[in-house]
Symmetry: C2
Subunit: 373 residues, 2 copies
């Protein structure tokens, strides 16, 4: 099945577990560590594909749950698949829809067979089983697809977390069996909250299924960052070295550096675009809130180290004006900048891995970046 | 004063009064007929300057009233002027602010000296005199600026319309006297509603002031299109042949064709971008409302005759999905398309003038375009 895919490990950092890799997919290579902007509904909010390309985006994520509701996965399939629909010819990853069923929809019934839930849009009754999650993702046609997992709340009892882990393993098996297309890499998702034994149990159930890549789910759901990093400390070593490792829904620039240092290769997060829409910019000297009056007459660029359109051509004063006046171009330019910032960060991390300097990179940069949550 | 400007008449259509011209400004040439997208607050909503360039935009309009309120004309001046602030290096035109004072603000007092009004944003008390209108526009630094005029409601009594005409003439004189910068073309604005005698009176007052161009104001304010066309029939011949003629705030594609046929050279209107944000597309075969369910599975482009990004790369189904899902990219792509459509229209009109075929162009095209109001 994985013939269209290969993952080459190019380098491992000398002082940390950070890796640099090259992942081949049917829609092109992804140099890792890599960050995927989130295109929930088949569009990274406010940005055109060529704008993503220009700032170095290699791969984007789209959300199965949202696309299944609107416009429907069969419509996307009939129109030639998600790549063509959204005009993105690079690699795409879709999640399984499970996370939104457990967080966004109103869950009506959950058992080993399936989840039954109500749409957050119109309240209609829908269901998601492992087989259905695969079917939808095959309709969408992403390069990388995800097993349906149970995302139990982080503060659930150990018994319930364990039930979720075992169900996730069971569902992973069913997803693998349901997969028909051979041009999509199906990843297993390790669950287990922040509990070492459960994470090990989850990985032990999934690794024998021999997925072409593994995701770490159920993190960045409200726990302190130190708990997330600790969880990665004992989870990542359970995953095979020769497959890409994807930390789902993470995170801040600090999170990316800490997770790369622990051996994670792939990330997605709404943070750069969502914060951008809310006038918050990530910069090489920390976070900037553009609505602040201090920027009203500031002629300097957002980030003098950034070469995105927002930084090369506009002043902070203009960008602030756009937000104060409620102009669309503000969210557009800040989403673009923050996306550029994240891409620059993972590129620099990759360089640091190749030169064996991740420890120094982390030390040099963490101090000057404000934590964004 | 007009040394930085020249207007060359290249051709006049054989069957109509349509003209093709070339207008030189300090920020480049404008081939006329020309249409200016509206960048009210220093940004054409949702579009970057390079996107405007790519679809052929030569000149943009910005609104003095809005910019004077936010971020303030002195701030724009201190940051290097409007061209630099908004990163548009082509010609810019600013209106005088009068139209918004009479339509948007709460007018408190109006006499020959000035208008006193309350800001529509925070209710603060402000005033606009001819001298102040020029001062603000000199701070903004557009290539073409407008005299302050009194925009009386179209249904005002003949006496009040006449008072507005005479006040507009008085203010035009004061604007001319107040102008200090020599690199901005100051246009007079002909008022007078749809009344022939008043329009002639207005032109007769303004033409001796020898402005480098003339605008026709007070139209497209609710009167039937036929009244507007009739008003142009008797107004345009009052204006000098050798200066650009600008029809303010107009209009639909049909309006543009009809007004060009009557000798108008320059237009601005929010219609392409505002309709674009509201999922309405102008196309070569008529208007399309993308929210309509008929487009849900339509693989065809919005307009097969258009080469904008929206038409070259996306299906109607995708564009509709963006609007149904509330995604920013929908308004962005449709604003871009409609802007491209308007630019193509004025380019084609220019070609028709040069080949003496405006009558045929009008006949061929009017039938298939739906009227948008």
């Amino acid at each position: 099945m994985a013939s269209a895919f290969s993952f080459e490990l190019e380098a491992v950092d000398s002082g940390t577990s950070a890796r640099a890799g090259r992942w081949s997919t049917p829609h092109g290579k992804v140099e890792t560590p890599a960050f995927m902007p989130v295109g929930t509904l088949g569009t990274v909010k406010g940005l055109l594909p060529e704008q993503l390309r220009l700032v170095g985006v290699q791969m984007v994520l789209a959300n199965t749950y949202h696309l299944a509701l609107r416009p429907g996965s069969e419509l996307v399939r009939d129109l030639g698949g998600l790549h063509r629909f959204m005009d993105w010819d690079g690699p795409i990853l879709t999640d399984s829809g499970g996370f939104q069923v457990f967080s966004l929809a109103q869950l009506r019934q959950l058992d080993d067979e399936k989840a039954v839930f109500r749409s957050h849009i119109d309240g209609s009754l829908l269901e998601l089983s492992p087989e259905r999650a695969i079917r939808i993702q095959e309709d969408l046609g992403a390069d990388c697809i995800m097993c349906l997992d149970e995302c139990a709340p982080a503060d659930d009892s150990p018994e319930r977390l364990r039930t979720a882990v075992d169900r996730t393993t069971l569902w992973a098996q069913r997803c693998r069996d349901a997969q028909k297309r051979t041009d999509q890499a199906l990843f297993g998702i390790v669950q287990g909250g922040t509990d070492e034994a459960l994470r090990i149990r989850s990985a032990a159930g999934l690794v024998p299924l021999n997925f072409p890549g593994y995701a770490v789910g159920g993190l960045s759901v409200g726990e302190p960052p130190s708990d997330m990093y600790r969880t990665l400390d004992f989870t990542v070593p359970q995953l095979p070295d020769d497959r890409p490792r994807y930390l789902m829904g993470v995170g801040t620039p600090t999170d990316l550096i800490e997770a790369v240092s622990r051996g994670i290769d792939l990330f997605d997060c709404v943070m750069p675009t969502r914060h951008g829409r809310n006038a918050m910019a990530f910069t090489s000297t920390g976070a900037i809130r553009l609505r602040n009056a201090i920027h009203a007459r500031d002629e300097t660029p957002l980030d003098s180290e950034c070469c995105c359109t927002a930084c090369r051509r506009y002043s902070r004063a203009y960008l602030r004006h756009l937000f104060i006046a409620g102009e669309m171009l503000g969210p557009i330019l800040l989403s673009l900048h923050n996306t550029a910032f994240y891409q620059k960060l993972v590129r620099e991390l990759r360089i640091a891995v190749n030169s064996g300097t991740v420890t120094e990179f982390r030390a040099n940069h963490l101090a000057q970046w404000n934590r964004q949550t």
